[in-house]
C-alpha cells in the first residue's frame, strides 16, 4: 500500500470530498467579550472573566463579527436566515474554558451558497455548493511541549470569532480542493472578512473524504482528515487518504468512519486517538444568547456595501480591456489591491495592455524581490502611470523607463525627477544632437563618407552610434531627420 503523495491516481475510483473551512473574522475584539484578538500577545494577556469562564460571567455577541459573517455568507451566495441560534457544543478540554464551545448547530447563520472555482483540465466547471456558513468561537491553545510533564494553556485565542464554511461533497479531487480553497480565500480577501493567514491560524481546513466507483450515486463511508495547515498540505493529504481508501477497498476491506490526522513531516495520515469521532456533544440552544435575528434592512445594507467580487471583476476586465489575455485578467484580479493598482494606471494612461505588461513584469517582479505588498508598494500607481505617459510622449525611452522604474522602487521618487537627476530624458535639442553627430562622423570617418556618398543603409548604424554616445537619451527620430538633411546638402 502506498501512503505517499507520489501515486495519487487510482483510476478505478472517484474521490468525493467536502471541506469544512474555519476562518477567523478580522475583528478587533472577541466574539463574546471585548478582549483584543491581537495575535502574538503574551500568553493569557487577552483574557477577561467572560473568556476565562469565571463563575457568573455571560457572553455578549459582537455585532461587528455578525456583520462580517453575513458579508462572507452573502459573498458566497448564501441565504442569510432571518433567525439563527447559538448552541452549546459540550466537551471537556483544558483549553475550552466553559466546558462547551458556543457555535451554531441546527439553525446556522446562512445556508445554500455556491462557489465557482474555475474549471478542470477537461474544461468542466468546478462548481461547489456551500451547505452552510455558521458562526462560532475559537478555543484556546494547549501547549504540550513547553513544560516538562505538564500542559500549559493559553486562552488568548479563546473566544476569537470564526465562521465555518461547509461545502457539499462536490469536490472530485485534490485539484478541485486546491481550486476551491484558492477561490474561497480570494473572496474572503476581497470582502476583507479575514486576513486569511494560514500561518496565524486564521484559516483552517478539515476534509471529509470518501471514494466510490465512477458513475455510482451513493457516497462511500467517509473519513475526516484534520491537521492540514497549508493548501499544499490539503492536496497532499487528500491524495494520500484517497490512495489509502482505494487500497483498503481493493483488498476487500471496509472503510471505517474515523478521524485521520495528517502529518506533514512524514506525509502520512493516521487515525486520531480513539473515539475522536464518537463524541456526543450534547448540543442544545445556548440560553445565555437570544436568537440571532437578522433584519432584511441589515442584509440589504451589507449587500450594498459588498465590494466587487473576483468573478465580477474578471468579467468586467474582459469587457473593458479587450487587449488583455485571459492570463492577464487572472493575475490582475488575484487581489483587490493588484486590480485597483492596475486600474488606476490603465485609467491614467489609457493604455491597458501597456499597463498590464508593466504589472505582470516589473511590478510583480519587484514586489516579489523586495517582499512588499501592492498596498504598500513604494511606487505609487499615479507615478507609474506618469512614467508610462513619459514613454508614450517620447520624453524618455523605453530602456530609460526601466532604469527610472528601478530607481523609483528604491526611492519612491516621482519619475520626472528621477529622469532629470539621472540624465535619462530624451535629448531633442538639435545643437546637442548635431554635436553628437559631428563627433560620430569624426570617429567613424570611413562609414560617414560612404553614407554621405549615398550608401543610405548605413544610416541605421550611424543612428546607433549616436544613441550609444548619448547613453540612450537622444531622440532617434530627430537624429534620423538630421542625418537625412546631411545627404540632401
Amino acid at each position: 500500500m502506498s501512503t505517499t503523495a507520489a501515486s495519487p491516481s487510482v483510476p478505478d475510483y472517484e474521490m468525493v470530498v467536502g471541506l469544512e473551512v474555519h476562518v477567523q473574522l478580522d475583528t478587533a475584539t472577541k466574539i463574546f467579550c471585548r478582549c483584543s484578538t491581537d495575535f502574538g500577545a503574551p500568553p493569557n494577556r487577552n483574557t477577561c472573566p467572560v473568556c476565562l469562564a469565571l463563575p457568573g460571567a455571560l457572553p455578549v455577541l459582537n455585532e461587528h463579527a455578525v456583520d462580517l459573517a453575513i458579508r462572507a455568507a452573502l459573498a458566497l451566495g448564501c441565504r442569510v436566515q432571518p433567525t439563527s441560534t447559538f448552541a452549546r457544543k459540550n466537551y471537556f478540554y483544558p483549553d475550552l474554558p466553559k466546558g462547551y464551545q458556543i457555535s451554531q448547530f441546527d439553525q446556522p447563520l446562512a445556508i445554500g451558497g455556491r462557489l465557482r472555482a474555475g474549471s478542470r483540465s477537461d474544461g468542466s466547471p468546478i462548481d461547489i455548493r456551500i451547505t452552510r456558513v455558521h458562526m462560532e468561537e475559537d478555543a484556546g491553545k494547549s501547549i504540550h511541549d513547553r513544560f516538562q510533564g505538564a500542559t500549559a494553556v493559553d486562552l488568548n485565542r479563546a473566544g476569537v470569532p470564526l465562521i465555518e464554511i461547509v461545502s457539499e461533497p462536490d469536490l472530485r479531487g485534490a485539484d478541485d480542493a486546491d481550486a476551491y480553497l484558492r477561490a474561497l480565500k480570494q473572496i474572503l480577501e476581497y470582502t476583507a472578512v479575514s486576513d486569511v493567514s494560514m500561518e496565524k491560524g486564521s484559516l483552517r481546513v478539515d476534509a471529509n473524504i470518501s471514494v466510490r466507483r465512477p458513475g455510482e450515486m451513493a457516497l462511500g463511508t467517509k473519513t475526516e482528515v484534520k491537521n492540514m495547515n497549508s493548501f499544499s498540505g490539503v492536496t497532499r493529504a487528500l491524495a494520500v487518504e484517497f490512495a489509502r481508501q482505494c487500497a483498503v477497498l481493493e483488498r476487500g476491506g471496509r472503510i471505517e468512519q474515523q478521524t485521520m490526522l495528517w502529518d506533514a513531516n512524514t506525509g502520512e495520515v493516521r487515525p486520531a486517538r480513539s473515539k475522536e469521532g464518537s463524541h456526543d456533544y450534547r448540543y442544545f440552544p445556548d440560553p445565555d444568547l437570544p436568537p440571532l435575528v437578522v433584519s432584511p434592512d441589515r442584509i440589504e445594507r451589507i449587500t450594498r456595501e459588498l465590494p466587487e467580487l473576483p468573478a465580477a471583476r474578471r468579467e468586467r476586465y474582459r469587457a473593458e480591456y479587450p487587449g488583455l489575455t485571459a492570463y492577464d485578467v487572472e493575475v490582475l484580479t488575484a487581489s483587490t489591491g493588484l486590480g485597483d493598482y492596475f486600474e488606476q494606471i490603465a485609467r491614467q494612461t489609457e493604455e491597458a495592455k501597456t499597463a498590464a505588461n508593466w504589472m505582470m513584469g516589473d511590478v510583480l517582479a519587484t514586489l516579489k524581490a523586495t517582499n512588499q505588498t501592492i498596498e504598500h508598494f513604494s511606487v505609487r500607481p499615479a507615478d507609474l502611470a506618469t512614467l508610462l505617459n513619459l514613454v508614450r510622449d517620447s520624453v524618455v525611452s523605453h530602456t530609460a523607463a526601466k532604469q527610472i522604474f528601478g530607481v523609483m522602487s528604491r526611492t519612491g521618487d516621482p519619475p520626472l525627477q528621477v529622469a532629470e537627476r539621472e540624465h535619462l530624458l530624451k535629448v531633442t535639442d538639435d545643437s546637442a544632437l548635431v554635436a553628437w553627430i559631428d563627433e560620430v562622423f569624426a570617429e567613424h570617418a570611413a562609414e560617414a563618407k560612404r553614407f554621405l556618398d549615398g550608401e543610405r543603409r548605413l544610416q541605421g548604424v550611424l543612428v546607433g552610434h549616436v544613441m550609444k554616445k548619448s547613453k540612450g537619451s537622444a531622440d532617434p527620430k530627430r537624429v534620423n531627420q538630421l542625418l537625412s538633411t546631411r545627404i540632401g546638402t
Binding site: P49, L54, P55, G56, P59, P94, T151, D280, R282
Partner: protein, 487 residues
C-alpha cells in the same frame, strides 16, 4: 440591646433617610447588623445562615457611603446593610455557591445587581448559606452544613436561598438578595415569614449570578416588608449590557403611596394550585387572604392553568440539562478545587467527584442524560414544548382580563430538618413556584398568617413585566393583614 440596635428595626427606606440626614452613620448601621447577626446566632455554630463576613471591609464600604453622603450624594439605600446569597459574585467576600468546589473563591468582579446596590449606598455585610449551586429547597444541601429556620430552629428555612430569607427573618438586614430557578426565593420567604420577589425573567441582570439553569435563573429580593422588597428590586432592576437576556424595558416606580382600594383589579384563583389534598390550614389562610382582597374591592375569579401538573417534570428535565453544561466550567483547570488524578481525565474525575455534593452530582448526571444523542428529542425537546404550553396557560389567563393570580406559595409550612430524604419529595416543595420560572412571569410570596406558629406564604403571580401591579396588590394586602401576618 447593642448600640445602634434600634437601627435594625427601621425599614430600609427609613434607615436610608436617617443615614442621609446624618442622624446615623453607615458604620453604626453596619455594626448594628453584625451585632444582630451575632445575637441571633447566625453563624456556623448556630443557625448557620451566614457564611462570610468581613467587618473591616464593611467599615470601608460604610466610610465610602459616608463620604458620598458628605459630598451630597445620598443613594436610595444609603447605609442600608444587605446580605447577598453565596452564588452572587462579590469582590470583597468569597463566592462559593455553598460548594466545596469553589471553597475560598473570590470573584474579581461584582455582579451587576451587587454593583447597583453599592452604587445606591447599600453595604454588603455578609454572604448567606444556600443549597449547593442553588440545587435544593431546604438549604440542607450546603457543603458548609444545613441552615436552620430562625422562626423554629428545628426546621429548615427553605431553599435554596434559605440563608438570605433567614437573615431577613432574624432581623439582621431588611433587604437580602437571593436567586430563583424554581422557587428558591419565594419558598424560603414563605417558610421564614418574609417577603420574597422573583422578578420577570430579564428584569434583573444575571451578570455575576453563578448560573444554574440560565433560562430559568433570576436574581430575587427578600424584604422584611413589601416596601423593603420593592425598594431592593427598584435598585437592581433594568437593562444591563453585560447580560444579553436582560430586558430593554423601562423600570416603573414600584413603591406606592398608601392607596388601598383594589376596585377594578381582577385576581385569578387557579384551581390547580388548590388541590383536594392541600393542607386545609394553608387553604384556610389563602381563602382568608382572598377575602381581604375582595373586601379591598378586587374581584376574585376562578381560573384554570391546565398544564400545571406537568411543571415539576418539565422543570426537572430543563434545569438539570442546563446545569450539566453550566457546571462544566468547574473542572479544576483555572480556579477552585483541583484534585490530582491519573492524567487529565483522572484530574477531572477526582476534582468533580470530590468537589460536588450528591444532589449536584445527581442533577449533572440527569442533565447529561437528557441531552444525550438519542434522548434529546424524548426529553429536552419535549420538555421545551411542554414549557411553551405552561407559558401559554399564563398568557391566556392574563389576556382574559385577569390581572394577577393568587395561590399558596408552598403546599406545607417549613418542614423539619432531615424530613425529606427522598429527592423527589423535596422537588415537590416547588410545585406551586416553578411554573412562574418556566413561564418567565414575575411572582412573589408574602406572609399571610401562621399555622402552628409557622409562617404561611401567599403567592402573587403577574403578567410579564407587571411587577408594579403585583406590588400594588401586595402593599394593600400586607396593610390589611397587619403585622400579625409577619410575626
Amino acid at each position: 440591646m447593642t448600640i445602634g440596635g434600634g437601627l435594625t428595626e427601621l425599614s430600609a427606606i427609613e434607615l436610608a433617610a436617617t443615614v442621609g440626614r446624618g442622624d446615623a452613620s453607615p458604620r453604626v448601621a453596619v455594626d448594628a447588623s453584625h451585632a444582630r447577626a451575632a445575637e441571633a446566632g447566625a453563624w456556623r455554630d448556630g443557625l448557620n445562615i451566614l457564611l462570610y463576613e468581613d467587618r473591616r471591609d464593611a467599615h470601608a464600604q460604610a466610610d465610602d457611603v459616608a463620604a458620598r453622603r458628605d459630598a451630597g450624594r445620598v443613594g436610595s439605600l444609603a447605609g442600608v446593610p444587605v446580605v447577598v446569597k453565596d452564588n452572587i459574585a462579590t469582590t470583597t467576600l468569597p463566592t462559593s455557591c455553598g460548594s466545596r468546589i469553589l471553597e475560598g473563591y473570590v470573584s474579581p468582579f461584582d455582579a451587576t445587581a451587587v454593583r447597583r446596590l453599592r452604587d445606591a449606598g447599600a453595604i454588603i455585610v455578609a454572604k448567606s448559606n444556600m443549597d449547593e449551586f442553588a440545587m435544593g429547597s431546604s438549604t440542607e444541601n450546603s457543603a458548609y452544613g444545613p441552615a436552620k429556620n430562625p422562626v423554629a430552629p428545628n426546621r429548615v428555612p427553605g431553599g435554596s436561598s434559605g440563608g438570605s430569607a433567614a437573615s431577613v427573618a432574624a432581623g439582621i438586614v431588611r433587604i437580602a438578595l437571593g436567586s430563583e430557578t424554581g422557587g428558591s426565593v419565594r419558598q424560603p420567604a414563605a417558610f421564614c415569614g418574609v417577603v420574597g420577589v422573583k422578578p420577570t425573567y430579564g428584569r434583573v441582570s444575571r451578570y455575576g449570578l453563578v448560573a444554574f439553569a440560565s433560562s430559568l435563573d433570576q436574581i430575587g429580593v427578600f424584604g422584611r416588608t413589601v416596601d423593603d422588597a420593592a425598594l431592593g428590586l427598584q435598585t437592581i432592576a433594568g437593562l444591563d449590557p453585560l447580560d444579553s437576556t436582560s430586558a430593554d424595558r423601562p423600570v416603573p416606580e414600584y413603591r406606592h403611596a398608601a392607596g388601598g382600594s383594589l376596585t377594578g383589579v381582577v385576581i385569578g384563583r387557579p384551581r390547580e394550585y388548590f388541590p383536594d389534598d392541600l393542607d386545609p390550614r394553608i387553604r384556610q389562610r389563602c381563602d382568608a387572604a382572598l377575602d381581604e382582597l375582595r373586601s379591598l374591592g378586587a374581584e376574585v375569579r376562578d381560573v384554570s392553568l391546565p398544564h400545571t401538573d406537568l411543571a415539576i417534570q418539565v422543570y426537572y428535565v430543563i434545569a438539570p440539562a442546563e446545569a450539566s453544561s453550566n457546571l462544566a466550567r468547574f473542572d479544576g483547570v483555572r480556579y477552585g478545587l483541583r484534585m490530582e488524578g491519573d492524567g487529565l481525565r483522572g484530574m477531572y474525575e477526582a476534582t468533580r467527584s470530590s468537589g460536588f455534593g450528591r444532589e449536584v452530582t445527581r442533577r449533572i448526571l440527569l442533565g447529561t442524560y437528557v441531552l444525550s444523542a438519542g434522548y434529546y428529542d424524548a426529553y429536552y425537546r419535549k420538555a421545551q414544548q411542554v414549557r411553551v404550553l405552561i407559558a401559554r396557560d399564563f398568557e391566556r389567563v392574563f389576556n382574559s382580563g385577569v390581572h394577577l393570580l393568587f395561590t399558596p406559595t408552598t403546599p406545607t409550612p417549613a418542614f423539619e430538618l432531615g424530613a425529606k430524604s427522598d429527592p423527589y419529595d423535596m422537588y415537590l416543595s416547588d410545585i406551586f413556584t416553578c411554573t412562574a420560572n418556566l413561564a418567565g412571569v414575575p411572582a412573589m410570596s408574602l406572609p399571610i398568617g401562621r399555622v402552628d406558629g409557622l409562617p404561611v406564604g401567599g403567592q402573587l403571580i403577574a403578567a410579564h413585566f407587571d411587577e408594579r401591579q403585583m406590588f400594588a396588590v401586595a402593599y394593600a394586602l400586607e396593610r390589611r393583614l397587619g403585622a400579625g401576618a409577619h410575626r
